[in-house]
Subunit: 240 residues, 2 copies
Amino acid sequence: MEHKMPLANNHISVDCVVVGFDGERLRVLLIRRIGEDSGEVFHDMKLPGSLIYMDEDLDGAAMRVLNELTGFKNVNLMQFKAFGSRDRTKNPKDVRWLERAEKAKVERIVTIAYLSLVKIDRALNKNLDNFQAEWVPLDEVKDLAFDHNLIIEEAMKYIRQYVEFNPSCLFDLLPRKFTALQLRVLYEVLYGKQIDVRNFHKKIMMMDYVIPMDEFQQGVSHRAARYYRFDKKIYNKTRR
Amino acid sequence: MEHKMPLANNHISVDCVVVGFDGERLRVLLIRRIGEDSGEVFHDMKLPGSLIYMDEDLDGAAMRVLNELTGFKNVNLMQFKAFGSRDRTKNPKDVRWLERAEKAKVERIVTIAYLSLVKIDRALNKNLDNFQAEWVPLDEVKDLAFDHNLIIEEAMKYIRQYVEFNPSCLFDLLPRKFTALQLRVLYEVLYGKQIDVRNFHKKIMMMDYVIPMDEFQQGVSHRAARYYRFDKKIYNKTRR
DNA sequence: ATGGATATTGTATTTGCTATGATATGTATC
DNA sequence: GATACATATCATAGCAAATACAATATCCAT
């Protein structure tokens, strides 16, 4: 968390739950943290986040964090919940780490949590290493700093609701060219249940904003699947 | 905003959008505010809200505000969005009022907004007068303090989404005994469009958690409508 | 040419939503 | 008491969307 020391408001932070999809599972972007607890060095992980600066609004702070981390601009960032329980900073481990990082006394911090759905393939080759960041499969996430496990749980609940309201966000998770299988597995992972292949195919055929391309998979040892793409303009016309 | 001066965190507040339904329109609970601006006394309105105390978490603070105001306990309070724009406190009128009320210097305040759907009939005869509170029809809400108009707008967007996900919240707005007409008008007001009477009737007949009672309207100058009631137990069984 | 693997397609059934017509029951009026 | 009027309640048909279920097509490797 290096920056040129703008004045920080040490009561309010933002945390970003950045979610990606690798074709099989959902992954969340986490940052490695090295700290010290009663003389022992420990390693664990946390969500990307930061105290907000005095001259910065919430959305701006979230954008900044995400940008510093992935280099992305213009990513769809959704505020989904504030976390302000008093025992967020219950663990002395977390408090000591934070006070060293921020060089200031901290008490209870309210954090505003943001959710972002991104394409792993684009993010993968950016500054991730510089930031000690890693795409961790959701079911392999261990104990995180602060209440970040809780924040991720709430983020997942939020996604499931949000998808129904705005299905286009699914395509933020997929590559620009994707197969019907990828899209189906994404649905299955999100809803936690199997979907009939044939009915699903019929369904995406009726979505006029999912465009079949003339391109097919290469070098697979079975019948090659067609690629599809998502057309945002058509989507906006038909939905709004 | 009288209280016995627990230590307040003057960076974070909660505001409650308390919504009721009078049978025709939605109403929101607002508090009268009297302030002074360049020598002139002004009257306007604001959402019920408060800075949070140091030993209080967000949900707790929202509960406290709502309880002080209406006497309610165990009301369903939903956090729906945080507002942290820097120009929330752009208007000097608001800043001066707040600094007098809180007896402390304030800068930017991030507020966590909560939504609550309640029965007007229960709330009506409580402490509303003591708190200078009033049920204002949504379409008659004037310019409010801070960004409270924006907060109400966002609250309404949130309700529309939330209803689809959890229709049971509609019954929080209705009296325990209600007619099919009341329920239908509530839908119409929320979605802003007319619903066919006959199809709507069929629809609520298929909801096994809407129970027809043996009681009918009294003293109306037309065929008396049947009363219905909402059964939460049955609802929870069928939905979850 | 054959087998293994995955992709793609068709048909019948059920269920839900929409549109519209007809009947029932209360009060007020003549 | 007969009639008009207003609202509540019940009924039916058509269309569209969701579900259940099985066969065929295409690519690669041998």
